[in-house]
């Protein structure tokens, strides 16, 4: 087991009930996990807890051999070696694509930096866009830059918050195949969050269904979406995408 999350609980100071309640999950190295849940079910909150942007009220998180947080310790987000692709990408508007990617490589030598930027840009197919600023890119390109930026420092774990929510529907279908290819080729363990079961099905090795801050079901796409579908009747069903990688 590579990632170990145990008894995780969290409450925003201005809310009455726990936002996350006794969340448990283990993830293998290189696995792609999808957290599937309705809007407001606490998906982003879980990512923020794993990232270290929020401090849990209870529970612990282990990544590799390192304890990220427990009831007695807390590792700051910049020390965790966890990468994140934000829902709105959060590319630094005052930096070029290249500088955005280099941002996470501050401790690397100049030459290594340059090589690494080339590598990740090749991976996301954006070699010709080095010198562009984020506002000069389309939504899909921005997302790929955000992915390249998160991959560049070679994180142990990569988090995606609703990676497709800002993309057109047809782009969404193309990109998620692409995304799975890229993630699998780097072998990075990933968690991505979505409210769309087609996304989960197309991308993930395993799906975690989240309901009101608690795990409702865990399993492969087949096990969860294929059979009884007690999740599907609570969500507007979209036309399924049949092609799978």
């Amino acid at each position: 087991m590579f990632v170990h999350i145990r008894n995780l609980a969290f409450k925003y100071p201005n809310s009455k009930d726990n936002t996350i309640n006794d969340f448990n999950l283990t993830i293998d190295q290189g696995e792609i996990i999808s957290i599937l849940g309705e809007s407001g079910s606490g998906k982003s909150t879980i990512l923020r807890l794993i990232a270290g942007l929020e401090m849990p009220t209870n529970g612990n998180i282990m990544v590799g051999d390192h304890c990220m947080c427990s009831n007695s310790s807390f590792t700051q987000p910049e020390k965790r070696g966890v990468g994140m692709v934000f829902q709105d990408y959060a590319l630094f508007p005052h930096m070029t694509v290249e500088d955005n990617i280099k941002f996470g490589l501050q401790k690397w030598s100049r030459k290594d930096k340059k090589n690494r930027v080339g590598e990740v840009l090749e991976l996301v197919n954006l070699e010709d866009y080095r010198k562009r600023y984020p506002f000069e890119l389309s939504g899909g390109q921005q997302q790929r830059v955000a992915l390249a930026r998160a991959l560049a420092p070679k994180p142990k774990l990569l988090l995606f918050d609703e990676p497709f929510s800002n993309l057109d529907a047809d782009l969404q279908i193309r990109i998620r195949e692409e995304l799975r290819r890229i993630i699998k080729s780097t072998g990075v363990t990933s968690i991505f969050v979505t409210h769309d079961q087609d996304d989960s099905q197309a991308l993930a090795d395993r799906i975690v269904v989240l309901r009101e801050g608690e795990v409702a079901q865990v399993g492969t796409a087949q096990e969860i979406l294929g059979t009884d579908c007690n999740f599907a009747d609570r969500m507007p069903v979209k036309p399924r995408v049949l092609s799978r990688v």
């Binding site: 990468g83 005052h94 941002f103």
Partner: protein, 371 residues
């Protein structure tokens, strides 16, 4: 408003039923700001011989040398100010955050035609004339009568005093405002919430009250430090409380809110996403601030600096009370000429206040354009 128009209300009805209620918070905030400014004012009321709390504090203190009574008057005035602030809160009520959508669409300006155009124009022109054009013409006229007496060493000293003190205080203000608002936005909890509120309070406190407080504080501090001065081989005198340090300190208390508001709105605009992204890429909070946040709110920082600078340039009551002996600024000089019945001579320093402020605003816009 556009909704109301689509629903078919007439313009007047829209004005009274929709625009006024929505703007209530802004209107009340405006009114209380004016009241507080009037309570703070010293120059105008003392020139026209009107008795206010501020003038009374000056008289008991300087006229009668009665610091005790001045402190009491200040206390009373503070109670009134706090009362106004509380009333403002109540009047604004829950309307403080009155928008259900986060993105408030900017109103489409309506192009006025025919006589309406001229009504609107003359109204604005009228206010602008009374408030700015006519006084400036008068000042320029007076200035032409007296300018020979001015362009001397002393006058440049005056400008230098005003500009340098304002510059130092504004710099301190901006640095403090950045640190406090950055702390407040990245942390939750009591401290992060109350700190900004205290920061802003200074702007509501009349200058005379701040002056009384600061003098009391620093004289006490000096007394405490007498031993230390002797140990350093200095005369045991009132060292700090006769220095520029005290004046700058008071400016910072009073105008911190001006810088703070500008910088906070800059932070509000960028949110915390970029900071979080930066931390996920291995930068600490401090490094993130210098590499990301500061670059993104440069305009707001600069704007806060300029606003504080202009406010300090024209500040009177604090400066009058707290300036070191023989230290004059453009504002105190203009005031002195005015009370000495030499209103014509007051014109030149006044014009220079307007001029320096004008240059500051011009530079500000110029820098913003380039961004």
């Amino acid at each position: 408003m556009e909704n109301a128009r689509i629903l078919g209300s007439s313009s007047w009805r829209i004005y009274f039923r929709v625009v006024l209620p929505i703007s209530r918070a802004a209107i009340i905030a405006g009114v209380s700001l004016v009241i507080l400014e009037v309570l703070n004012d010293y120059g105008v009321v003392s020139y026209y011989g009107i008795q206010t709390f501020t003038t009374a504090i000056f008289q008991t203190w300087f006229g009668m040398g009665d610091l005790q009574s001045a402190v009491k008057l200040s206390g009373t005035l503070m109670v009134i100010v706090l009362g106004i602030l509380v009333l403002e809160r109540i009047a604004r009520g829950r309307r403080q955050f009155s928008f259900t959508t986060t993105k408030v669409k900017l109103l489409q300006p309506v192009k006025l035609e025919g006589p309406k155009k001229w009504y609107a124009f003359s109204f604005c022109m009228f206010i602008f004339s009374i408030g700015f054009i006519i006084p400036v013409i008068q000042l320029v006229y007076w200035a032409t009568m007296t300018y020979e007496q001015f362009f001397s060493q002393d006058f440049w000293q005056l400008i230098w005093n005003s500009v340098s003190v304002a510059f130092i205080a504004s710099t301190i203000i901006v640095i403090m405002a950045v640190v406090i608002s950055n702390f407040a936005r990245l942390n939750r909890g009591m401290l992060a919430k109350t700190f900004p509120k205290i920061t802003i309070l200074g702007y509501s406190i009349p200058g005379a009250v701040i002056a009384v407080g600061v003098v009391t504080l620093f004289t006490a501090l000096d007394r405490q430090l007498f031993g230390f001065y002797e140990w350093l081989g200095l005369e045991p005198t009132l060292l700090i409380s006769t220095s520029l340090f005290m004046l700058v300190f008071a400016y910072v208390i009073r105008y911190l809110a001006v810088g703070y508001n500008s910088i906070e709105s800059g932070f509000d605009r960028i949110g915390t996403n970029f900071t979080e992204a930066s931390r996920m890429l291995g930068m600490s909070v401090t490094k993130s601030f210098f590499k990301v946040d500061m670059k993104l709110i440069r305009g707001a920082i600069f704007g806060g600096f300029i606003l504080a600078f202009i406010d300090i340039m024209k500040e009177l009551p604090l400066t009058l009370i707290l300036r070191p002996f023989n230290f004059d600024t453009l504002a105190t000089k203009a005031y002195q000429y005015a009370v000495d019945e030499m209103i014509q001579q007051a014109a030149i320093p006044s014009i220079f206040i307007i001029l320096v402020s004008g240059i500051a605003i011009y530079v500000f816009h110029h820098v913003l354009e380039k961004e």
